[in-house]
């Protein structure tokens, strides 16, 4: 039942992901780089738009749902991980990518993140971390640094910020990476590794917000990031290494694939009752004779 058209026969091109809709983000928004890297990664992985399901949460990133091609779903605030997980459960032939910001991921929908990682649903999750709520005009988010005056908290927030990677690594994920919206090439590379990973791929994207985040602009990150690949003998299969290297968010900020466990299978391949199945549940919607089951009640 798959699409058998031109898109499947030739290698996909960046232009295939073109949308006629005009971007509505601020000048220099980190989302431009993220969209660019996402397209490059999809094309490099030879995913045509008809096999890509791009799921967007609410926020500035979600406003980009119609500025890229692919099958897209623009959902509700905080819920996109669960929605995307449902897509991945149903059809493992799809490349399922979900995007959400720091408010959605660590505020409104933190439970979905935790259980999405536990379930190891086969999705690539792009965590847009720009340290504020942009679309609602610059309120504090769970990752806003203390003491930063924000819309609705003029004297700064007085709650401890969430350290996203520390929390994610504590959940024993199967894939955790970090990148930076200002380095499209690096992000492209990390996203490709995430897409290749079978399971829940958590990718934190340190994102600039030129309008509301004056503290950590593009240049701030540029000066601080380093790829863990540059470290001698960095062991990405060690959770301890990942925790240590990812701890610092102020001076030396580690990016790249911080942690990966290739031994665990994604959710849908881990169903005790479906080990013999080679089809997806999308293909299995067929009449089922329940006579034998009903007879157990006679």
């Amino acid at each position: 039942m798959s699409c058998t058209h031109a898109c499947q026969t030739g290698a996909p091109k960046i232009a295939d992901y073109f949308s006629k809709n005009i971007y509505t983000w601020c000048t220099n928004c980190g989302n431009y780089g993220i969209h660019g890297a996402l397209k490059r990664a999809l094309v490099a992985q030879k995913i045509p738009p008809c096999k890509a399901v791009l799921c967007f949460d609410i926020g500035c990133n979600g406003n980009g749902s119609d500025k890229i091609d692919g099958y897209r779903f623009h959902g509700l605030h905080g819920r996109i991980i669960s929605f995307a997980s449902g897509v991945a459960v149903a059809n493992s032939n799809l490349m399922v990518v979900a995007s959400a910001g720091d408010g959605a991921t660590f505020g409104e929908g933190i439970g979905h993140l935790i259980h999405g990682i536990r379930g190891n649903y086969n999705i690539t999750f792009l965590f847009h971390n720009n340290l504020n709520y942009g679309l609602t005009k610059g309120q504090a988010s769970p990752t806003t640094k203390p003491g930063t005056g924000m819309n609705s908290s003029p004297d700064g927030i007085n709650s401890e910020p969430v350290h996203p990677m520390r929390l994610v690594l504590a959940l024993n994920p199967t894939f955790a990476a970090r990148s930076f919206s200002g380095d499209v090439k690096h992000l492209d590379h990390v996203l490709q590794r995430a897409m290749l990973h079978r399971g829940f791929s958590f990718v934190e994207i340190l994102q600039s917000c030129p309008t509301y985040n004056k503290q950590t602009p593009h240049e701030w990150y540029q000066e601080r990031v380093f790829d863990v690949g540059s470290l001698e003998n960095y062991d990405a299969s060690s959770l301890t290494s990942a925790m240590q290297v990812s701890a610092d968010l102020e001076e030396k900020v580690a990016v790249g694939v911080l942690y990966q466990d290739k031994s665990r299978r994604p959710f849908i391949e881990n169903q005790a009752n479906r080990m013999e199945y080679t089809t997806t549940v999308v293909e299995e919607v067929l009449p089922f004779d329940i006579a034998e089951l009903a007879n157990t009640f006679r």
Partner: protein, 591 residues
């Protein structure tokens, strides 16, 4: 609601109630009774009451027995079989005058008030040293329940063979306990409890009933879902929907269904919607509190035109309410759930056949109209034991995807194209080269975001037009009982059973005062042609609902302007008993 007992002869039923503490095996005893009655060639209906506790309190499983089909309970029993002291006290007032209490409690005392009650109602109390008998017979003390079953079975004057067969099949996985249980059953059966009276009806046995099914509404819904091609089930446990989750999990090696207990109902709904978006059939189930959490997703389903099917098994609210009791008070939330205005379908099951068929139809409608469909049940339907020969014929699975040969011609703007019916073409990811954006923001025909007035209004109206198209396809409510009746009950859900069972008695006794019943299975959009005919004929109508607001009545008023002058509403967590209806009709006819 207080009921006046009817005689067994008027009811043509014999009623056995097994009662004890929660955790004492009361439900299993009830099931053994019900199955044995079926195996004996009679009709039965099993009604459970239990507290929201793992152990303690009191619980009961009442088995009504008849020569004709029954789907409701009597408020009073002929034999109350008690395993615990508390249950004797809790249920003694539900014993019919002239009935018997059989119990296994040593040194059971009654207060003066209780003694007077027993005396006035000529209720005999019989003690059976069941645990002692069980041990003497070579069994264990837990087999006291089986001893009591034997005692009661003898009182009923029925043959023991069917019970032995049921015990053998019940313990098929623990063969070493079959023999001692059968021995305990026989010991109970030969135990002399002395004089007692049992004025049961004379039964007519039908040996073909042996092969009928004895099954709950939740099991019927589950099997209907399997037949509908549902391949994914997500749920968070919540009474009275939980047994759908446990049953589907118990058969998942046979069905291959993905059955996943999820961390919360918000996720349940979102994953369900995601799987439906991908093009499979995914089902979710919950009760009122869980449904509250799902409502934003119901709204999202309406906006993105992604099909969604949810079973909402009702229990009394608000908040935690009466978690293990029955109600039909969530019609309003089913009809109004979720912010914004959009098309949805709300249906309500009542018995095994309707549950089995409705869940299949729910998916066909959800996919045809690309809307949320809410399938309402009640604890009374979800967990009661109904008897049925066979399920209705399976509904054809209608996916309503664009046919494969037409997919290459699709363009993105087909997906949400503004059509007269309101329904646009649907295809899932990977089915065609033409992609789209299923956008929770207001959008254009290809899903691209818009905030412009004209296209926003056009898309809004397109989604609402689906309700008119859908309504034309829905059936009118169905009449039960005589065509010519001096009064018509109007209701939905489980009330159907008590009404039908009571009218079978009433219409025979009072041919001058015959009544019938108009049953709504499709609740929203609401069909009112039949109802309006009744209004035009000035037919007296009584609204009967398992809630306090008269929620269907309010919807009918909203749609037709008709105001119900008479309402029979029950909201104490108990279902309508036959006596509730007969009492109402008697009072009504004498006033």
């Amino acid at each position: 609601m207080k009921q006046t007992p009817l005689t067994t002869n008027r009811l043509q039923r014999l009623v056995i109630k097994a009662a004890g503490e929660s955790g004492q095996g009361v439900n299993s005893v009830g099931e053994v009774f019900a199955k044995s009655i079926k195996e004996s060639g009679l009709y039965t209906f099993g009604y459970r009451e239990y507290p929201s506790l793992i152990k303690g309190g009191w619980a009961s499983h009442q088995i009504d027995i008849s020569s004709t089909p029954i789907n409701s309970s009597s408020s009073h029993c002929d034999i109350l079989m008690c395993l615990s002291r508390v249950s004797v006290k809790a249920y003694m007032t539900t014993v019919r005058p002239g009935g018997t209490i059989v119990h296994a409690i040593p040194k059971l005392f009654f207060t003066e008030e209780e003694k007077t009650f027993l005396e006035q109602n000529q209720i005999a109390v019989k003690h059976v040293p069941a645990a002692k008998i069980a041990i003497e017979t070579g069994g264990m003390s837990v087999m006291a329940n089986t001893v009591l079953v034997g005692v009661v079975w003898r009182m009923m004057g029925l043959e023991l063979k069917p019970v032995e067969a049921v015990i053998a099949s019940t313990f098929a996985k623990k063969p070493d306990v079959i023999e001692p249980n059968v021995a305990c059953l026989r010991a109970g059966h030969t135990f002399d409890i002395g004089e007692f009276q049992l004025k049961g009806p004379v039964f007519t046995f039908d040996p073909t009933l042996e092969s009928t099914m004895l099954i709950t509404g939740n099991h019927a819904l589950s099997l209907g879902a399997v037949a509908a091609g549902v391949r994914v089930f997500y749920a968070y446990p919540m009474t009275p929907s939980s047994s759908i989750l446990s049953y589907l999990a118990s058969i998942y090696h046979k069905t291959g269904m993905v059955v996943k207990q999820i961390e919360d109902e918000i996720t349940v709904a979102q994953m369900g919607l995601g799987s439906m978006f991908a093009g499979t059939r995914a089902l979710v189930a919950t009760s009122g509190g869980g449904f509250d959490l799902m409502t934003e997703t119901v709204s999202l389903s309406g906006m993105t035109e992604t099909p969604f099917v949810c079973i909402l098994a009702q229990r009394p609210g608000p908040a935690t309410g009466l978690p293990t009791w029955t109600s039909a008070s969530d019609l309003n939330i089913a009809v109004y759930a979720g912010h914004g205005e959009y098309t949805r379908l709300v249906v309500a099951g009542s018995d095994l056949s309707s549950c089995y068929t409705l869940i299949q139809k729910a998916f066909n409608f959800a996919e045809k109209y690309q809307i949320p469909v809410i399938v309402l049940t009640e604890k009374q339907i979800a967990e009661s034991l109904f008897q049925l020969r066979d399920f209705p014929k399976d509904e054809p699975i209608e996916r309503h995807f664009v046919p494969e040969q037409e997919r290459s011609a699709l363009v993105s703007s087909d997906r949400f194209a503004l059509t007269e019916s309101g329904v646009s073409k649907r295809w899932a990811p990977d089915m065609a080269e033409a992609t789209y954006d299923a956008n929770s923001d207001e959008h254009l025909e290809d899903g691209s975001l818009t905030e412009d007035a004209e296209p926003s209004q056009a898309m809004y109206e397109k989604r609402l037009r689906k309700a008119n198209t859908l309504k034309m396809e829905l059936p009118e409510p169905e009449f039960y009982g005589l065509k010519d009746a001096v009064m018509t009950f109007v209701g939905w859900g489980s009330v159907k059973h008590a009404v039908i069972d009571a009218l079978a008695l009433w219409n025979t006794e009072r041919p001058d005062m015959t009544c019938n019943y108009l049953h709504y299975e499709y609740l929203w959009p609401l069909r009112t042609d039949t109802f309006k005919e009744l209004i035009a004929q000035n037919q007296p109508m009584v609204l009967i609902e398992q809630n306090a607001f008269g929620q269907l009545g309010a919807l009918l008023t909203q749609e037709t302007g008709y105001m119900f002058k008479e309402k029979l509403l029950k909201y104490d967590g108990r279902p309508f008993f036959v006596e509730d209806l007969i009492g109402f009709l008697e009072e009504r006819s004498s006033s």
